[in-house]
Symmetry: C2
Subunit: 163 residues, 2 copies
DNA sequence: TATTGTTATACTCTATAACTATA
DNA sequence: TATAGTTATAGAGTATAACAATA
């Protein structure tokens, strides 16, 4: 994307006038990297996410766990870890906190005495239903400069990398 | 993207057979979110990045700083912070470490006695030149399931979110 | 008064080793 | 022996407040 040729990018841009201070640096090499751009985009979305989910008391990981449990009742910690690519020790306190808040319930696993099946409580069901709607809304706003078609394309391309 | 209707996604998928253990959970709601996908994709690329950059002793942030200085000689810490969206206190040790390694040099700023202009040393120039080539290579591999055209589209769409 | 760079510090996130109880 | 869940802990990464030197 950033060839040696000095071409004006899509956004309107002054030719790097020697202003007093705080002039922007040439970051075209970094802006040609998938990793850099994915991180920057995620940073924006996650900031909006954090703001909008604060009223629900949910961080991204909390939302992911509750949403997963809403569509996979009785899932185990191990399954959540595998799906979300997080380590078991880092899920323990998280699940305990959601339990303390009365959003989820731990029940003995039907087939495996070691495992614990996780289930949403009615309060958890209600919360995640509202939160999921809020997230869809916030995602639409955070990607408001993309058309529906472009947003679908973006997601499809991102999944080609990690799925 | 994930409507209540149970429709088979694009990828071939068995109907969630009740296997012994470790079955995959239904994550279609999360997989319909830009934030979730951007983070998952970034995680993959950054893992490859960490592996390949280890021989150079460079983390992502180190690479970003050196690459920026390569194309913006004499840039200040403040400018690096603005461009990379990091906080000044978190750049101090990083710049000090690159200085200790003899990769960059701090020179008094020509117009501002408070600021310090950062410059690559010859060793830093050599290192970042090799590292940039390695990163281009690693990026191509990490996104090998994308065509060149798709990769450009992906980056363009990501930039529409954060730029 | 405002800004650059810095110190100290705290909080979150992520990672590893080791234990227990079940299988 | 292997796995699910847990504990304790260490290391990154990221955040705020406060200070000195200069503008």
């Amino acid at each position: 994307m950033p060839p040696p040729t000095k071409k004006t990018p899509a956004t309107t841009e002054a030719p790097a006038a020697p202003s007093a201070r705080a002039e922007r640096l040439d970051a075209r090499v970094l802006e040609g990297l998938v990793g850099y751009n994915a991180r920057r985009a995620w940073l924006i979305v996650s900031t909006v996410f954090a703001d909008r989910m604060a009223p629900y008391g949910l961080k991204q990981i909390d939302f992911s766990v509750l949403s997963l449990l809403a569509h996979n009742p009785g899932a185990t910690s191990r399954q959540l870890c595998n799906t979300l690519d997080i380590l078991p020790p880092n899920l323990v306190n998280l699940v305990a906190a959601l339990d303390s808040r009365g959003l989820i319930e731990r029940r003995p696993h039907p087939h495996d005495g070691r495992a614990v099946g996780l289930h949403l409580t009615p309060a958890g069901e209600t919360l995640i239903r509202e939160a999921e709607q809020a997230v869809v809304q916030l995602e639409t706003e955070a990607s408001s400069r993309l058309s529906t078609r472009e947003r679908e394309t973006l997601i499809k391309l991102l999944q080609k990398i990690y799925l």
